[in-house]
């Protein structure tokens, strides 16, 4: 087991099918409290499907324990209310609204529960992403790719999550921006958020994570401490490649 303090998320035998096509077969993973766990794998391995099923956007079979509660059929509103947040691959921002409004909406379920003092949460997000503060009155649709990703992560943080799930945060971003995003992911751990990180950029993901799973054709092919996976010859051959020193430098903070 990879959890020392007790898991925030434990998934047993989760499977998802699109009609008769099985996209995910009996996946079991575990995220400990305060940990960063990454799921890496090639295109079409079922990484996005896994996250969508966990938060309830997709129907699934299996057992999902979130914060020690068994969720037979995860339901998006309930999962969000319980503290699970997903930053989807497509970001799904509200393009016609300002950066500030997007952030406010991130805290919607807290507002609904009666928390009215969300300014401090917003200030914390602005501390992490000063660029968002500069652009707070701008429409989300006018942001650059990196800023959109920052806004998507910032909006998710506004929910005060226990578990933050990130789907391909590096997708479509320039290497320097990717590096910035991963440095921030590393720093978020210090604030006590657990993170489930799905990535194709295995090098950057394994550099920041504590534990890793390799997902291939809908099944967990390998798992282990991130440091071990980084040195595993099979992982190096398939996902990391040899002798790309400059990428290591980019992945380091």
């Amino acid at each position: 087991m990879n959890s020392q303090v007790g898991p925030i998320l434990e998934v047993r035998d989760l499977s998802v099918a699109y009609g008769k096509v099985e996209a995910l077969g009996s996946v079991s993973i575990c995220v400990g409290k305060g940990q960063i766990v990454t799921v890496i794998g090639p295109n079409g391995a079922g990484k996005t499907t896994l996250l969508s099923a966990l938060i309830g956007l997709l129907g699934s079979r299996g057992e999902v324990y979130f914060d020690s509660h068994l969720e037979k059929t995860p339901d998006v509103e309930r999962m969000v209310a319980n503290g699970m947040v997903l930053v989807p691959e497509k970001r799904e921002l509200f393009g016609g609204m300002s950066v500030q409004d997007n952030l406010q909406l991130g805290a919607f379920h807290r507002y609904r529960r009666g928390e009215r003092h969300l300014q401090r949460a917003m200030d914390e997000v602005y501390d992490i992403f000063p660029r968002l503060k500069e652009r707070r009155r701008q429409l989300a649709a006018t942001l650059s790719g990196g800023e959109r990703q920052m806004l998507a992560v910032g909006r998710a943080l506004m929910a005060g999550p226990k578990l933050l799930m990130l789907d391909e945060p590096s997708l479509g971003l320039a290497p320097m921006i990717t590096r910035e995003i991963f440095c921030i992911i590393g720093r978020l751990r210090e604030s006590g958020v657990s993170i489930l990180l799905v990535e194709q950029n295995a090098r950057a993901a394994l550099a920041v994570a504590d534990y890793g799973y390799v997902l291939e054709t809908g099944e967990v092919a390998m798992q282990g401490e991130a440091s071990q996976l980084r040195d595993d010859p099979r992982v190096i051959e398939t996902y990391l490649g040899l002798g790309k020193k400059h990428q290591d430098r980019l992945a380091a903070c």
Partner: protein
């Protein structure tokens, strides 16, 4: 036509335009959040007016029984859902579905309806008719929320036909008119402005400003706009599309009923009058492309003016002229609009 007649037509057109503006806003709202083209919007106008008329004549309006029956069906639907999903069966979360119609029915039974002050009668009419909106969403649209726009439109037409039929059953075939809110009238130069017209225009301006503040200042309003922009994104923030749908239908039903209550003293309302009024609101909403609130409101005033001038010059063709407006508008919109998909 002299200047005085022109002024009179403008006054009439602006009053009708104010009503069409409110309905157009409701149609745009419902479409942008739920993709439903809300044909039954007009029935809320007729039900609002006729319910108020029944109350003023001291009768219990038939819409109350509709509310009781529809809520009962909704309770059964909720129980069925709990049972199927293995959730604990209890009234938690839908207790109001049982309590609200009962309390309202008791109130209407014991209150001396005809002798209530007009303001209270209006509130009672709203209390009876408005909840039909969210209930309609729960029973009809929620189960098919993911269906195509065409299917949602066909269902809307069906609901419209059913509601018109029920309107005939509840209120009969004769037209009804209610007492005006005020007998005051003002003379402005050559114009005689009656108090009810002032009411219509003030209330619709108030409603438009209120809606604008709701959508730009409150988090619930922003969440509704967010749902219209990006359904998945809004869901991931914990804003349920079911809740968005019910809230939208509540607003639409409120706007429709309020419009009906406002025009009931000016126009004679029949059980099927709502459809034509709603359709003119729809023309205005089309001017705004079913997405733009300000253009829809401006379009509504245009429709109102066009209608009143058409009724002066060619009264037999006044509906034809108003509805023909749709053709140049659609041409103009399809030539100038660029279809943009986000990402």
């Amino acid at each position: 036509m002299d200047f005085q007649i022109a002024l009179f037509l403008v006054q009439d057109g602006a009053t009708n335009g104010a009503i069409y503006a409110m309905l157009a806003l409701a149609l745009v709202l419902v479409f942008s959040v739920t993709r439903v083209i809300f044909i039954p919007q007009g029935e809320f106008v007729a039900y609002g007016a006729l319910t108020l008329a029944s109350l003023q004549s001291g009768q219990i309006p038939g819409t109350l029984w509709l509310l009781v029956v529809v809520s009962t069906i909704a309770v059964l639907a909720e129980l069925w859902r709990c049972w199927r999903n293995g959730l604990p069966i209890g009234l938690h979360g839908f207790g109001w579905l049982v309590g609200y119609p009962l309390i309202l029915a008791l109130l209407l039974w014991y209150l001396p309806l005809a002798s209530l002050p007009a303001f209270v009668q209006v509130l009672v009419a709203l209390a009876v008719v408005v909840p039909l909106g969210p209930l309609m969403y729960r029973l009809v649209y929620q189960p098919i929320a993911e269906a195509s726009v065409l299917i949602l439109l066909i269902v809307s037409v069906a609901i419209h036909v059913v509601l018109v039929g029920l309107g005939l059953l509840f209120f009969g075939a004769e037209g009804l008119r209610t007492a005006p809110f005020t007998d005051a009238s003002f003379e402005m130069g050559p114009l005689l402005i009656n108090g009810q017209q002032v009411w219509v225009i003030l209330v619709s301006i108030g409603l438009i400003v209120g809606l604008w503040r709701f959508f730009s200042r409150t988090l619930y309003g922003k969440a509704l706009r967010a749902t219209a922009m990006n359904r998945t994104g809004a869901r991931l923030m914990g804003f349920s599309p079911v809740f968005a749908g019910k809230l939208t239908f509540l607003l639409a039903a409120f706007i429709g009923t309020l419009s009906g209550v406002l025009i009931a003293p000016i126009t004679t309302i029949y059980y099927d009058t709502g459809f034509l009024i709603g359709l003119k609101g729809f023309v205005a909403a089309i001017v705004g492309g079913l997405i733009s609130f300000p253009i829809a409101a401006a379009g509504a005033v245009l429709v109102g003016l066009l209608e009143s001038f058409a009724s002066f010059y060619a009264s037999a063709y006044k509906e034809v002229i108003v509805f023909t407006l749709i053709i140049p508008v659609l041409l103009w919109r399809s030539l100038t609009s660029h279809h943009i998909e986000e990402e």
